[in-house]
């Protein structure tokens, strides 16, 4: 067992945890805003996958990982626009449309991938890393945490920014009003539809960025169905975080660690099937839901469309 405690193992575990956590963190932060505003965004998996595809496509075509991230954001938002129009504007069932969008994007990206990349499987060059001076020299955690792609720092920074916006500006209160009691926000002069559309688009942008990270930084290529439920885990993170961005980060790191055990154990030469380890995050979610499920209070109007004057 001592092989498990080598520096290489710990380093790859920590690295893996962060690498795996970032997409879930971004998705969770995005979903958190939708859920606050009362939209259960089941389509987030599709937004992520579209972000991964378009992110990779743009990065590959223009040979720029940064343009790729922008492409990912646009991809996620494209799906989010559909979600916003169908569910917020027209008031269709959020779950059915969410599933529909996810299935559709899975099919569409697999189709596009097949006709564009399936023969060559092009890869992106290894992403640049931004070493934070001094910090990156610390053993084990130095290279794991402080020597990552800049997008990692952006994701971490967005936790702080969102926490600040929710706490210090009227944003948090406006979102919660839209999710708890849209009629109250409406008569107080707020714009329920505007708030909800904004939050869905924000979710799309974050999920798309997370997807682009998966493709461009995590894998270096696009594979159909590559998000593999990361978006759904984002939904769980958002549900359990009870509105706090920091809790999304903590949750994402825990799930990231569970996922990265796969690679870490392979590094350590273990022969446990990867399926077993891949089960861990989902099993963890169920465990957390069993323990805290009762407390995962959801907004009162979550999943319910708002129509003014409806009685």
């Amino acid at each position: 067992m001592e092989a498990l405690l080598t520096e290489a193992f710990l380093s790859s575990l920590l690295t893996g945890a962060i690498v795996a956590a970032i997409p879930m963190l971004l998705a969770g932060l995005g979903e958190q805003m939708s859920e606050k505003a009362g939209v259960l965004n089941i389509g987030i998996e599709g937004m992520m996958l579209m972000g991964a595809y378009l992110g990779f496509f743009v990065a590959f075509q223009f040979d720029s990982i940064w343009l790729g991230f922008l492409g990912g954001i646009v991809g996620g938002m494209l799906v989010a626009v559909l979600m916003a129009v169908l569910c917020v504007r027209l008031g269709l069932n959020q779950i059915v449309i969410g599933i529909g969008l996810t299935l559709g994007v899975e099919g569409l990206t697999a189709l596009l991938h097949h006709f564009q990349f399936s023969r060559t499987y092009p890869r992106l060059p290894a992403p640049v890393r931004a070493d934070l001076p001094l910090l990156s020299d610390i053993p084990v955690i130095g290279p794991s945490i402080f020597s990552r792609h800049p997008i990692v720092y952006i994701a971490l920074l967005s936790v702080v920014v969102l926490a600040y916006l929710y706490r210090r500006t009227n944003l948090g209160m406006t979102l919660r009003a839209a999710g708890e009691s849209p009629a109250a926000l409406d008569v107080a002069g707020g714009n329920v539809e505007g708030v909800r559309v904004f939050s869905v688009l924000f979710t799309g942008a974050m999920a798309g960025l997370g997807g682009a990270y998966l493709a461009n930084v995590g894998a270096g290529l696009f594979i159909p169905f590559m998000t593999g439920g990361a978006g759904f885990i984002g939904i769980v993170l958002a549900m359990l975080a009870r509105g706090r961005p920091l809790w999304v980060l903590i949750g994402a790191l825990i799930f990231g660690a569970a996922l990265s055990l796969t690679t870490a154990l392979q590094v350590a030469g273990s022969n446990i099937p990867t399926d077993v380890i891949q089960m861990l995050p989902f099993a963890a979610v169920m465990l957390v839901l069993m323990v805290f499920g009762r407390k995962a209070r959801l907004p009162a109007a979550l999943g319910i469309s708002y129509e003014r004057g409806a009685r």
Partner: protein, 363 residues
């Protein structure tokens, strides 16, 4: 279920069907056929974008899935698991439960059937082998839903997330079981022991159609009658339509919720067994047809009506068979059917929205 209004519950579906009967036939045709047509057109545009001739593709699918003898037999065989899944979802949706975990329940049912049936051949009479396989699959499927069921029934935890999580878990767990526990020692590829063709569900007459089709049809019709004609079905619908009213009328909402999960997941397990005991004979590692989420649009389009669901499943199976063949011949990946299903869902939603608006204007 009206997708145009979330507050309305599943029960609205039957009301709407009743209302629709009194509406002009043209309108009904528009409401059902319109979205289907629009979905095919939308998907055709996507096909054209990737450089495939949609007319050629669609006619190929029709040719392979419907208008060739072998294709038709394959289509009929493919219907069996889909029908069991329809039965599963009709119960759940009519009772207001979002069971999104049918994929996991399906696979575990399949694995347990594949693990036990070949071992029992020769020990038990043939029909009993199959019966044991089906019963075990239903039990295992139901068992896999017990956590979401308990969480929903007694702690009010939203079942959408829990069933999805259990589905991911179930798919992986099924794979682990095949690789580690139920591995056939006689083969090099990781898969379960194989049920000999002679011991599988009998075929119908002189065709290659599995009699699983008959059982699937019985399942859907039985579920439909149960939900619409029996006291138990009405109780389940009451819980789905208005749990407060159900509690007020003295029903135990938690117990009925548990029953819905057990039945729905049990039928999903049966779906898995029907595929193994009828067609495949074994489960290979990492096999996952992922029928579960795909059947949802069909059940919605059928407005939870059993007969309508059977008709839609027929066409959908033909499409699956056709597209599998098209993947080999025309080089269009089978995942394209997902695009079609998604377009169908979205067009269906838009259709209901337009209908909703038109009715409002009329009033």
């Amino acid at each position: 279920m009206s997708m145009a209004d979330d507050i309305e519950t599943s029960e609205t579906a039957s009301v709407q069907v009743a209302v629709m009967r009194r509406r002009p036939a043209l309108r009904v045709a528009m409401l059902t056929l319109g979205p289907i047509l629009a979905a095919f057109v939308l998907s055709a545009v996507i096909l054209m974008l990737v450089g495939v001739d949609p007319l050629k593709y669609y006619s190929y699918i029709l040719q392979r899935g419907l208008f060739s003898g072998l294709g038709l037999e394959q289509t009929a065989t493919r219907m069996a698991p889909l029908l069991f899944l329809c039965a599963s979802l009709i119960i759940a949706f009519r009772a207001g439960i979002w069971n999104l975990g049918t994929d996991g329940q399906f696979l575990l049912g399949a694995v347990i059937a594949a693990a036990t049936a070949p071992l029992l051949v020769g020990v038990l009479p043939g029909w009993l082998v199959l019966l044991v396989g089906f019963v075990l699959a239903a039990l295992v499927g139901a068992l896999w839903s017990i956590l979401p069921a308990l969480l929903r029934a007694y702690h009010g935890v939203n079942e959408i997330i829990t069933t999805l999580m259990m589905s991911f878990l179930g798919v992986l767990f099924a794979s682990v079981l095949v690789k580690l526990v139920f591995l056939d020692p006689a083969t090099t590829v990781p898969q379960t022991r194989t049920l000999p063709v002679a011991d599988r569900l009998p075929r119908l007459f002189d065709t290659s159609i599995s009699s699983g089709l008959i059982w699937g049809l019985i399942a859907v019709i039985a579920v439909h009658l149960m939900m619409t004609r029996t006291a138990f079905g009405l109780r389940l619908r009451m819980v789905g339509a208005n749990p407060h009213a159900a509690a007020h009328a003295g029903l135990s909402v938690p117990l009925l919720t548990m029953a819905v999960f057990a039945l729905s997941a049990g039928f999903a397990g049966l779906a898995g067994a029907s595929e193994i005991l009828g067609v495949a004979g074994n489960v290979r590692a990492d096999w996952n047809p992922a029928y579960g989420l795909m059947v949802i649009p069909l059940v919605f389009l059928a407005r939870f009506h059993g007969i309508a669901a059977i008709i839609l499943v027929f066409f959908y199976s033909a499409m699956l068979i056709g597209s599998e063949s098209a993947a080999r011949r025309l080089g269009v990946p089978q995942d394209f059917t997902l695009v079609l299903v998604a377009s169908l869902l979205i067009c269906l939603g838009l259709g209901e929205y337009i209908d909703h608006r038109m009715r409002q204007k009329e009033q």
